[in-house]
Symmetry: C2
Subunit: 262 residues, 2 copies
């Protein structure tokens, strides 16, 4: 199957049947992919409020009703218990299992959060002819913990994680314009230039992902990153938390262009 | 005092001391005013999710921690028990009191929601030279219940309420451009033209507010309206719900321009 041009429905079917267990980058071109975090209902209000207060790192695409694995807004025919290629199970902040479905872990009090992912705003940047170094060089985008505190909500608090893409200044300006149109998936950058100004000591040593080369005449451009909410949820050591495995995202029926305001 | 050019802090102080009990339209030019709804914490998750799922009619500016009357994000020096000119108390969906402070009604499980208000997007339209008929003619904006269902969340469900402003087509196009920049306060219109297409039987008989004259060559332009969340919360007949009295809004420290993405 040509995954790049397949429909989300067709690819999710293969994933559901365990015929496709792989990272989802590059699949279903044009459709938004999502980070997932599942938490018990008694933590869900605080987590929803945390996401609401920190829209840039935590752009909510969908929240299921307690006990329901169906993401009605973004893929009403999907089932979040089966339709992600690989899941991670965390008990009290420790990873205890990695599985291809979560049927045996499902509980009636679980709420699933689907959060926007940077693939959605990278797509229009590529369409506009901007180079994205980590894609050119075929490695994971570099991500850093910053000294920027998220706005706390209930038990959830901690620093913002950012992703970085090196660009020539003119391309950085264009990137601001393009990502500004996408306030529901991270939006405009949160910083351009000096990494130390946001608490990053060594730009060549990312906390997550792989380092990108910054060439002469380029500046680092930083966006709020969807790793933030998972990283922060984990610090509260919830009794049960389920996430997608890195790179193994949920593919929605929503077009990236539907997440753009113009 | 020149209320139009006074600071939010100065005007809130007068309101807190009961020296100013009036509608807030036209006060503190440039600053965002907010609708308010206070609900018990056990309804707050569903209500927050409802607002999240229906961003256009329910644009959240701030949500207080349970039991705290302080809107930390939008006016950290304010106190929502005193700083609104007039409040309405509802018990099981029936209005039981209208008061100038809610000290005696405050409970440790209450959560206050501040929601964006159309003043914020009318201000840049006026700056751009567009005529807003209800302001020219000095009446309340006309509002209508539509046949557009909001996305339900838990106990909350019901139709979207819209506000209407008549405009010449070229002005309507400009209005789309201007309000698109403000996704956090209602954003772009949800409909232009034929009222019946969204279930409005008689454009001259609004469900709330006053009718606006539509002149030859003008089209009605409809925006999602902040009356929606209050109207929907009320239908669930919560044991206690507190709102601002119509037109008596909460004045925040946030500039309207800060709510614009460009």
């Amino acid at each position: 199957m040509d995954y790049a041009n397949a429909s989300p429905d067709a690819v999710r079917k293969l994933i559901r049947e365990n015929k496709l267990i792989a990272q989802t980058s590059g699949m279903c071109n044009g459709y938004a992919q999502a980070n997932m975090a599942i938490l018990p209902k008694d933590l869900a209000f605080d987590f929803l409020l945390f996401c609401q207060r920190n829209k840039k790192p935590c752009p909510i695409l969908d929240v299921t009703d307690a006990g329901s694995p169906i993401p009605h807004l973004t893929a009403p025919d999907a089932d979040l218990r089966y339709d992600i290629p690989k899941y991670r199970i965390y008990r009290h902040g420790e990873m205890t299992d990695e599985v291809t479905d979560i049927e045996k872990y499902w509980q009636n009090d679980l709420v699933a959060f689907l959060l926007g992912c940077s693939f959605s705003f990278e797509s229009p940047m590529l369409d506009a002819g901007l180079e994205l170094r980590h894609i050119t060089d075929n490695h994971n985008v570099p991500m850093y913990k910053t000294n920027i505190d998220c706005v706390p909500a209930g038990v959830f608090h901690g620093p913002m994680v950012v992703s970085m893409r090196p660009m020539k200044p003119a391309d950085a300006i264009r990137a601001v314009q393009i990502t500004t149109r996408m306030p529901y998936v991270h939006g405009a950058p949160i910083h351009i230039g000096d990494p130390e100004a946001i608490g990053i000591k060594d730009i060549n040593k990312p906390d997550f992902g792989d380092a990108s080369v910054i060439r002469d005449g380029e500046v680092p451009v930083f966006w709020a990153c969807g790793v933030t909410p998972q990283s922060i949820a984990m610090t509260t050591k919830p009794p049960l938390m389920i996430t997608h495995a890195p790179g193994h995202m949920f593919i929605t029926d929503v077009l990236n262009s539907q997440l753009s305001i113009m």
